[in-house]
């Protein structure tokens, strides 16, 4: 099931880059620097854009001499990119865009700062998989899941699955690591010659009731699934994630990860399978990734005001389905924040697809620009709730609650831009 990694020149070896590409990199870095100086964000995306204007083939040029892994999904791509970088990093220099700039400009900017032969682990936006694969000839492609997200601005998930399928047929990688429990991902990955299938036990299947191959109906029975009208069905699996255990290559990894929840065991399984495919020893890879405690601020426990908080990110129904596993246990109040800016999608109708009732009897405080949408959702869920105008106000309410337990960090679960706002308040990513 594993393929030999694509040969890459040893680190430090001189690699010839066309003068135009060199100029593009230089100008892009200068623009990024200038952008940082005037406090216009990190500057990486705008620098990448300028570089690509000078040399539209820059991504191909910058990846010509490296081994490349591409990671895409609706949920979990940032975490899995980080885990794979760490797993590979125990053996070789790695460059990655794990801070989330995941379209070509951001990828180019990340690569421009590295040695020409460093292994690249690239998080790629779902819509950019085709163009990134064509440019980079990635040896390894990791496809985690596809589900509804920002329906007011992105494409239907079926169209994305079709694009992935076309991309894998046009630029076949040595190995694809794919989710055998997501029919959309499975159908896309079947276009590739060599697939490592992961049994993820994915529970969210609401977006895959219609068969991507024939529009027939897919039946889910136990752990298996199959189309009732064509021959698309769950493939035989190579890697299994079950309860606390990851089973891979005849080995069982039981020891806990620092990252919490079932979803992160799944992410770790993808990272282990990909790092194995890229030639890293399984034990070394697991040892490296089981210490990762936060990813771009996600899962960070930190003090804010006088309260310990834990930052969680959940952007869409499938993401919330996983996040709610972490919110079911304790009785201490929690904070949920929802915005509806461009990066979130303008339409928070999806709040009604989330089973918020799973939080039980806890007090939930709604914040964010769409806190009143949340409050109405909670009202109809018979969930004890109140509304606050800021994170600070919400935590004041938490502190006053008789159920507040100061020994347990207060969970603050947010969608994308609300999460970024909170991360900034507690000191940013690094």
């Amino acid at each position: 099931m594993t393929a030999a990694p694509a040969p890459a020149p040893a680190s430090g070896q001189t690699v010839k880059i066309r003068p135009r590409a060199r100029l593009a990199v230089l100008v892009g870095r200068t623009v990024a620097w200038a952008s940082r100086v005037v406090h216009f964000g990190t500057g990486s995306v705008i620098g990448g854009r300028v570089s690509l204007l000078i040399d539209p083939n820059l991504l191909a040029e910058l990846t010509r001499s490296r081994d490349v892994a591409v990671i895409s999904a609706t949920n979990g791509k940032t975490t899995t990119t980080k885990l794979l970088s760490v797993a590979l990093g125990s053996r070789q220099p790695v460059v990655s865009n794990w801070l989330g700039a995941n379209m070509t400009p951001g990828i180019v900017a990340a690569l421009a700062t590295s040695n020409a032969t460093d292994t690249a682990v690239l998080e790629v936006d779902e819509r950019w998989v085709d163009s990134v694969l064509r440019a980079t000839n990635a040896s390894t492609v990791v496809l985690l899941n596809l589900s509804r997200d920002q329906l007011d601005r992105t494409q239907e998930v079926r169209k994305l699955a079709e694009q992935w399928r076309t991309a894998l047929a046009a630029t076949p990688p040595c190995t694809v690591i794919a989710n055998a429990d997501d029919p959309l991902v499975t159908w896309a990955a079947l276009a590739a010659p060599n697939v490592t299938w992961i049994a993820t036990g994915q529970e969210w299947t609401a977006d895959a009731a219609g068969c991507p191959a024939c529009s027939g109906r897919i039946d889910f029975v136990g752990t298996e699934w199959a189309c009732t009208s064509c021959d698309l069905k769950r493939p035989p699996v190579d890697v299994v994630v079950e309860d606390e255990t990851i089973s891979i290559n005849g080995r069982n990894f039981h020891s806990p990860l620092a990252l919490p929840g079932r979803v992160n065991r799944v992410n770790a399984a993808f990272a282990l399978a990909a790092s194995t495919a890229m030639g890293t020893d399984l034990d070394a890879a697991f040892d490296a990734l089981d210490d990762v405690a936060e990813v771009a601020g996600r899962y960070r426990v930190t003090e804010f005001g006088d309260v310990n908080i834990r930052l969680l990110l959940a952007k869409n129904p499938a993401g919330w389905h996983e996040a709610l596993e972490l919110l079911e246990g304790p009785s201490t109040p929690l904070v949920i924040a929802i915005n509806a800016r461009i990066a979130d999608g303008h339409d928070p109708s999806w709040l009604w697809d989330v089973d918020y009732e799973r939080v039980g009897n806890r007090l939930v405080i709604a914040i964010g620009e769409r806190r009143h949408d949340l409050a109405v959702r909670f009202r109809y869920g018979n969930i004890t709730h109140c509304v606050a105008d800021s994170l600070e106000d919400a935590l004041n309410l938490v502190r006053k609650s008789p159920d507040f337990d100061p020994t347990v960090p207060v969970d603050v679960a947010s969608n994308y831009t609300a999460f970024q706002d909170h991360l900034e308040k507690v000191g940013g990513v690094l």
């Binding site: 509804r148 009731a209 219609g210 529009s215 109906r217 303008h346 109708s349 009143h372 959702r377 109809y380």
Partner: protein, 268 residues
């Protein structure tokens, strides 16, 4: 997910059926069933809610049917299954109330466009026809006024309707239909009107959980079934705050659909 109705139900329970959530439920449509169920429970009225997936027979004895929104492909399949089953037709003949959202409204009409723009035959329970027009998809806040519904208990004023719309196509009501409201902000049916009502079948472009933002519409549908005497007032503070905020946002055109000069000329 499929279940059959319980034949031993108490006669007083209001029976609600969500149709084809596996095909038509992309935008939080499940919220409408939750809102209706809670508003009955909070008034002490028993409620039975079931979901019927595509392919399963549709019971014709329920009081209220919900048909949700969906993507272009599943929409065509849902229309085919509804036509084959005929359960919804029989229920409407018996006087059942239907709320159809967005794609659900389009397929309940006489004709609607599929993903390629080709006109397809609809179910014919709503007297309207939806055609593809050459304009950007209408995506944004929809605000409609003068909303009213004529039920067996008389005319019910619904106040402003607020919601989000996300659709292509223009819906033309026929002579056996009235519109639900007049568009103040957004696209709606495309001719300044919003929604289509034929008898007890109500269609709207307020997509997804439309009833969450419009409790008077929810209560009007319920009043049709249980009568005005049962409609005791409820605490709607949370939803009042949300409505005020979204109506303001729509009037400020915070998230209004893009409109070309041609659209504006067409409507005047």
């Amino acid at each position: 997910m499929t279940s059959t109705p319980n034949s031993n139900r108490a006669d007083s329970a209001v029976r609600i059926v969500s149709l084809y959530p596996d095909l038509l439920g992309t935008y939080g449509d499940g919220g409408n069933a939750l809102v209706l169920s809670r508003r009955l429970e909070w008034r002490g009225i028993a409620v039975e809610h079931i979901s019927i997936d595509a392919g399963a027979p549709i019971p014709d004895s329920a009081d209220l049917y919900l048909v949700g929104g969906g993507e272009d492909g599943p929409q065509v399949q849902a229309a085919r299954e509804l036509e084959r089953s005929q359960g919804l037709h029989r229920a409407v003949d018996k006087g059942a109330v239907v709320l159809a959202i967005c794609a659900g409204m389009q397929i309940l009409g006489h004709r609607f466009p599929d993903a390629t723009g080709t006109s397809r035959g609809g179910v014919g329970l709503l007297d309207c026809e939806t055609v593809r027009v050459n304009r950007p998809r209408a995506v944004g806040e929809l605000l409609a006024t003068n909303a009213r519904l004529t039920t067996t208990h008389g005319l019910i004023e619904l106040g402003p309707l607020t919601g989000f719309e996300n659709h292509a196509g223009r819906t033309v009501p026929g002579s056996n239909a009235v519109s639900l409201a007049s568009v103040e902000v957004g696209e709606g049916n495309g001719d300044g009107s919003e929604g289509v009502v034929t008898g007890t079948v109500v269609g709207t472009y307020l997509h997804g959980p439309a009833l969450a933002r419009n409790p008077r519409l929810a209560d009007a549908l319920l009043e049709w079934i249980v009568g005005p005497a049962a409609m005791t007032p409820l605490d709607d503070n949370d939803v009042s705050t949300l409505r005020a905020e979204r109506i303001h946002a729509a009037r400020e055109h915070e998230l209004a659909p893009r409109r070309s000069w041609r659209d504006i000329l067409r409507r005047s």
